[in-house]
C-alpha cells in the first residue's frame, strides 16, 4: 500500500515529462494521469480500514549519506486527518483538467505541466510524515500556483500572484522556524540529543515531555504564534485574508478551484496536524482569541460577500466565511467541533471548488462575471443551473446535503463549548449561527438574481461580432450590454458532456456525505481522538498553572462522542439526537438536560 501511495504522489511527475509540445497531447496526458491517479487514490482511500491510526506508511531514507545524523526520512502515509483531503485532491483535479480543456488556449503544455507539479505538491503536503518533507511540499505548491495565476490569470494577475506568494511565504517562513524550534526542543529537553523530524514520533515525544512538565507554556506560546503565522495566512483567518479574494478572482478557473478546494485546507490541516497536538497548552490558552477571529471572519466574510457585484468575488468572500466555520470547529477543541471542522473543510472543497468551476463556465460563455448583467439563466442553461443549485444548497448547508452535517457539528460543538466556558463564547456561537443565515442570504440572492427572473444576458464578444448592428443600438457605454432576448438567439450552449463530467463527481460526493456522513466521520475519528487527547486532559504540571486562569477548562467530552458518531445512521435527525445525547451523557453539568 505504501508503494501505491508513493506511485500516486509521483505519477503526476511522469505526466510532466510526457506532456509533449501540443495542446492536444498535453491535455490528454493530463487527463489520463488524473483519471488513473484518481482510481488509484480512490482505491487507497476506500480500502482504509476504519479505526486504524495510520495506513499505507512508506519510509525510506532520503539522504543516504547523512541519514544517521540528520534523521530526515522520506516518510509518507495516510491517517484520519489526511485521508479525505488526499482523496479530495484527486477528485478536484479531474474537475480542474476538464474545466481547463477549452479555456486554456495559450501555452497549454506549460499549463498542464504546472498543474501536474501542483498536483504532486498538494498530495505530498497531506501524506508527508516528516516535518521537512511537509514543509517542502507546502512551499513547493507555491511555485506552480504562482505561475498559474501570473500567466493564465485575468487583468490584475501579476499583482495577485505576487501578493499571494509573498503573503504565504512571509507567514510560512515563521512557521518553518516554529517547526524547527519544536524539533530542536525535543532533541534537548528529552536529553537524548537525537534530532528527529518524523511527525508521529515528534508528536508522541512532545506529549511525553509535556507530561513530565518539560514543555513550558511560554515556549509553547512562542511556537504557537510562529506556527499560527503561516497557517492562519493559508486558512485565511480574517486580518490576514486580503490576498485571498484577489488571488481567487484573478486566477484561471483551475487555479481558483484548487486554491479554494485544496490549498486553503492546508492551513486548517496544519493546525490539526501540528498546532493542536504539539503545543496543546498554548492552544488552550489562545483559543478564545482564535475563536473570536473565526467568528469575525464568518460574519465579515458573509457581509462582504453580500456587497460584491462580481460572482467570483462573492464566492471568494464566501470562502473567508466558510473557512471561519472550519476554524471555529477546530478550535472548539471538543470532538464534535473537530469532526465538524474537518468535515467542513471537505465540504467547502467540494462546494466552493464546484462553484468556482461553474463561474468559470459562465465566464467562458459570456466573458463577464458581473451579477447585474445576468438574469433568468435557469431557462437558458438548465443543466448549469441545476449544478449551481446543488452546489449552492451544499454551500448554505441544506439538510440532506453535505454542508448541513459539517455546519451542524461545528455549531453543536461550539454551543457545547459555550455552555461550559460561558462568557464571550456565547457570542462566538451566536455569530456562527448568524453566519449560516447570512450565508443562505447572499448565496440565494446570487442565485435568485442570476438564474431567475426575466432572462438577461450580457452581450458576449462572439455575439457582438455577429450581430453588431443590434449592439450599436443599445445605449450602454460598457462593453457588456444587457438586453432581453428570447432563449436560443445567442450562440450560448448549455453544458457539454465534458463539463457535466467535470461537475458530476463533486455532486455525487455532496449527496453521499449528506446522506451518510458517519461513513466519512468514522474514518476521521481515531486521528481526531489522538489530536484531542492532550486537549481534554491537561498535563499534571499545568493544572496549577491553568487553575489560576479563569474559564479555560474544556469539557471532558471525547471518547464517548466519537464512539457515538460512528454509530450514527444516515438520517440527519438521528445525527442530531445522537450528538445531543452524548452531550448529556458526558457532561458534568446537570443543567445540560434541558433540551
Amino acid at each position: 500500500m505504501g508503494t501505491l501511495l508513493a506511485i500516486t504522489i509521483f505519477l503526476p511527475l511522469v505526466g510532466v515529462l510526457l506532456a509533449g509540445q501540443t495542446r492536444e497531447s498535453a491535455r490528454l496526458v493530463a487527463l489520463t494521469v488524473v483519471l488513473v491517479n484518481c482510481l488509484l487514490s480512490g482505491y487507497l482511500v476506500f480500502s482504509y480500514p476504519g479505526g486504524a491510526p495510520s495506513f499505507a506508511v512508506l519510509e525510506v531514507p532520503w539522504w543516504p549519506r547523512s541519514e544517521a545524523t540528520l534523521g530526515v526520512r522520506f516518510a509518507m502515509g495516510l491517517d484520519g486527518l489526511s485521508l479525505w483531503l488526499y482523496g479530495l485532491t484527486s477528485l478536484l483535479m479531474i474537475t480542474c483538467v476538464l474545466v481547463s480543456w477549452e479555456a486554456v488556449k495559450e501555452n497549454a503544455p506549460a499549463f498542464y505541466r504546472l498543474l501536474m507539479l501542483l498536483y504532486t505538491g498538494m498530495l505530498g503536503v497531506f501524506v508527508a510524515r516528516d516535518v521537512l518533507l511537509f514543509y517542502l511540499f507546502f512551499e513547493a505548491t507555491l511555485i506552480p500556483l504562482f505561475f498559474l495565476i501570473g500567466i493564465w490569470g485575468h487583468e490584475e494577475r501579476r499583482y495577485a500572484a505576487m501578493k499571494f506568494f509573498l503573503f504565504t511565504l512571509a507567514g510560512s517562513v515563521l512557521t518553518f522556524l516554529g517547526l524547527l524550534a519544536l524539533v530542536i526542543w525535543n532533541a534537548y529537553a528529552s536529553g537524548s540529543g537525537v534530532v528527529t523530524f518524523s511527525i508521529p514520533e515528534l508528536t508522541q515525544r512532545l506529549a511525553e515531555l509535556r507530561e513530565r512538565g518539560q514543555l513550558p507554556l511560554a515556549f509553547q506560546l512562542w511556537v504557537f504564534w510562529a506556527l499560527f503565522a503561516g497557517f492562519a495566512v493559508k486558512v485565511p483567518l480574517v486580518p490576514l485574508h486580503t490576498w485571498l479574494p484577489l488571488a481567487h478572482v484573478e486566477a484561471p478557473t483551475a487555479g481558483s478551484v484548487l486554491l479554494a478546494g485544496i490549498l486553503l485546507k492546508v492551513g486548517g490541516y496544519g493546525f490539526l496536524r501540528f498546532v493542536l497536538p504539539m503545543v496543546p497548552d498554548a492552544t488552550m490558552q489562545v483559543t478564545p482569541w482564535i475563536l473570536a477571529l473565526s467568528a469575525i471572519g464568518i460574519v465579515y466574510g458573509a457581509l462582504t460577500a453580500f456587497a460584491q457585484r462580481d460572482i467570483k468575488r462573492l464566492i471568494a468572500y464566501s470562502s473567508v466565511s466558510h473557512l471561519g466555520f472550519c476554524m471555529l470547529g477546530v478550535f472548539t477543541l471538543n470532538a464534535l467541533g473537530l469532526h465538524g471542522g474537518l468535515l467542513q473543510m471537505i465540504n467547502h472543497g467540494l462546494a466552493t471548488g464546484g462553484l468556482f468551476a461553474v463561474v468559470g463556465m459562465i465566464y467562458e460563455r459570456y466573458h463577464t462575471r458581473k451579477i447585474e448583467s445576468f438574469g433568468g439563466l435557469a431557462r437558458k442553461l438548465p443543466i448549469l443551473a441545476f449544478f449551481m443549485f446543488v452546489l449552492t444548497f451544499s454551500s448554505i448547508g441544506l439538510p440532506g446535503l453535505n454542508g448541513f452535517a459539517g455546519e451542524f457539528l461545528v455549531l453543536v460543538g461550539m454551543f457545547q463549548r459555550a455552555w461550559h466556558v460561558g462568557g464571550w463564547e456565547w457570542v462566538f456561537a451566536v455569530a456562527g449561527t448568524l453566519g449560516v443565515v447570512l450565508g443562505a442570504w447572499y448565496m440565494l440572492t446570487l442565485v435568485g438574481r442570476v438564474f431567475f427572473g426575466t432572462l438577461r444576458e450580457p452581450l458576449s464578444e462572439s455575439v457582438a461580432a455577429r450581430d453588431g448592428a443590434a449592439a450599436e443600438q443599445t445605449e450602454s457605454s460598457e462593453n457588456w450590454h444587457t438586453y432581453s432576448v428570447s432563449a436560443g438567439q445567442h450562440g450560448v450552449r448549455d453544458l457539454s458532456l465534458r463539463e457535466v463530467l467535470a461537475l458530476a463527481p463533486l455532486v455525487v460526493f455532496i449527496v453521499w456525505i449528506g446522506i451518510q456522513p458517519q461513513f466519512f466521520l468514522s474514518r476521521m475519528t481515531p486521528a481526531l481522538k489522538s489530536v484531542q487527547k492532550p486537549l481534554a486532559a491537561p498535563a499534571a504540571t499545568q493544572i496549577a498553572d491553568r487553575a489560576a486562569l479563569p474559564a479555560r477548562s474544556v469539557p471532558p467530552v471525547g471518547d464517548t462522542v466519537s464512539d457515538h458518531l460512528t454509530q450514527i445512521s444516515g438520517c440527519d435527525a438521528q445525527l442530531a439526537d445522537a450528538t445531543f445525547d452524548t452531550g448529556q451523557v458526558t457532561s458534568d453539568h446537570p443543567t445540560d438536560h434541558d433540551d
Partner: protein, 533 residues
Amino acid sequence: MMTDWLPEILLVFAALLCLVLAPFQVRRSWFYALALIGIVAGVALFYLQQGFLVSSKDMLGVFGRGLAFSVGLILVLTAGSSGQESQHEGERLGSLLLGIVGLALVARAEDLVLLFVGLELISVASYILLYVDREGPNYREAATKYFYLSVLSSAVFLYGLSFVYGLAGTLSLRELMQAGAQGAFTGVMGAIPLVLILAGIGFKIAAVPFHFYAPDVYQGTSHRNAALLSALPKAAGMLVLVRLLLEGMFGGPDRAWQVVLALSVLTMTLGNVLALWQRNLRRLLAYSSIAHAGYMLIGLTVAMTYATPQGHPWDGAAALLFYLIVYLLATLGAFAALGTLRLGDRQVETLDDLRGLAYAPLMDLRLLAWSLAIFMLSLAGIPPLAGFWGKLAVFFSALDVGGVPGGGPARSRLVFLAVVGAVNAAIAAAYYLRVVSTMFFATLPGETASHEERTLQLRQGAMPAMFAVALCAIMTVLIGISPGRWIEHARRASPTLRGPQRSMKLATMEGKLSEMAGSTASSLSPVSQDPSE
C-alpha cells in the same frame, strides 16, 4: 607533496601562456580554448586526485579548492568572447585564471603570508579584469572605485594580521592554532585583530558597513565581471573568516560573536530592503549578494559561540560552507544567463529589458528564462531548490544553539538572529519574484510579436555560457532534491565539528563552554579527553 599542487600549477601555466601570447597576433578564440583546456584539466586533475591519490587531512582546504576549481570552470565558461570586444582577450582570460588560483591558494594556505598573497592575487586579477573588459556601461568608474577601496581594505586586513603575529608570535596557521588554544586572543588585545580582520574581509564579502562599492561596481561593469566579483572575493573572504577566526583565533575574545551578529543583521536587512527598489539587474543582484553575505554570517556567528553540541546536523561553519555552495551556484548561474543576452548592441541592463523573455521565439531564450526563474527562486529559498536547504542549514544552526537549555547569553540572541533571517527571507522573495514575474507575466503569451523593435537575442558564441547556465540550473535542482551529500562535504570541512586533529582545540573549548552551556560541555568532554595530539 608536489603532486598535490598540480592543478594549481597547471592553471598558473595556462594563465602565463595566455599573458605571454597576448601581445602577439594570435586569434582571440585560441586564448579562450587555452583557458578552457586549462581549467577543465585542472578540475579533472583535482577530482581525480581527491578520488584516488591524495588523502589530505585539511578538509577545509580540500573543500575550498574544490569550490575554487568548480567556480573557476563556471567563470571561464561564462567569460567567453563575443565578436566585438577589446583586444585584450589574452590578458583578460589570463587574469581570470590567476584569480581562480588565488582562491585555491586562500583555501589551502597554511601560512598567513600565503593567505594574504592568495587574496591579493584575486584582487589584482579583479582590477585588471574590471578595466580590460569594456562591455560595462561605466567600466572606468567601476574599476577605479573597486581598486581604491580594495587596496584600503587589504591594508586594513594586513594591519590586522600584524596584530595576530604580534599576539601569537607566528605566521604559520598550525602554530597559530596552538597559540589560539592557549588563549592568545581572548583578551582585549584579541579584539583589535578581530575587528581589523572583519573590516578587511567585510569589504571582500560586501558586508554592510563595507558594502558601498558593490552596487556601483556591479552596475558599472559587465555581467561576467559581476559574476567574478560576486564569487571569488566572497568565497575567499568566507574561507578566510572560517580559517582565521574559527580555526586560528578560536573566535577571538568571548563576546566576539556579538560583533558578527550585528554585522549579520545589518547586512541581511539592508541588503534585502535596498534591493527592493532596484530596477537595474546587476545592482539588484549586488544587493542580493550583500544580503546573502548576511545569511552566511549567521553561520559564522553561531560557529563563534562554539556552543553547537556534538553530532548535531549543522554547526555554524558547516551551514556557512553549505550556504556558500548554494549561493554561488544560483548567483553565478544568474549572471551567466544574463550575460548571454543581448538587446540590440548592448547587454541587458534593467528589469524591463527582460520583459516577456519566457515567450521569446527562440527556444534557447525560453530555457534561459526558466533557468533564471530557478536561480531566483533558489536565492529566495523556496523548496525544493538548493537555496532552501541553505536557509534551513543556517536557521537550524542558529536555533540549535538557541535551543540549548541554559545556553547562556547566546541563546536568545541567536533565536533573534534566526527570526531576523526568516523575516528577511520573506522580504527578499519580493524582488526575486519581481524578476520572475517580469519575464513570465509582463506580456500575454501571444503578444510578443508586437514589439519587434527591441527583441532580445543571444550574443555570439554563447554556447559555453549556456552550458554553464545549464550546469548551474541542474545542480541547483539536484541539490534541492538530494542535498545530503553536499551537506556532508560541508560538515567534514567544518573546523568546529569534531575530527581527530581537532581534539586539542576542543580541550580548550571546554573551558569556554563551561561558562556558556553546562550541558553541552559535558557532552563534549569524552572527545576532549583524547590527548593524542
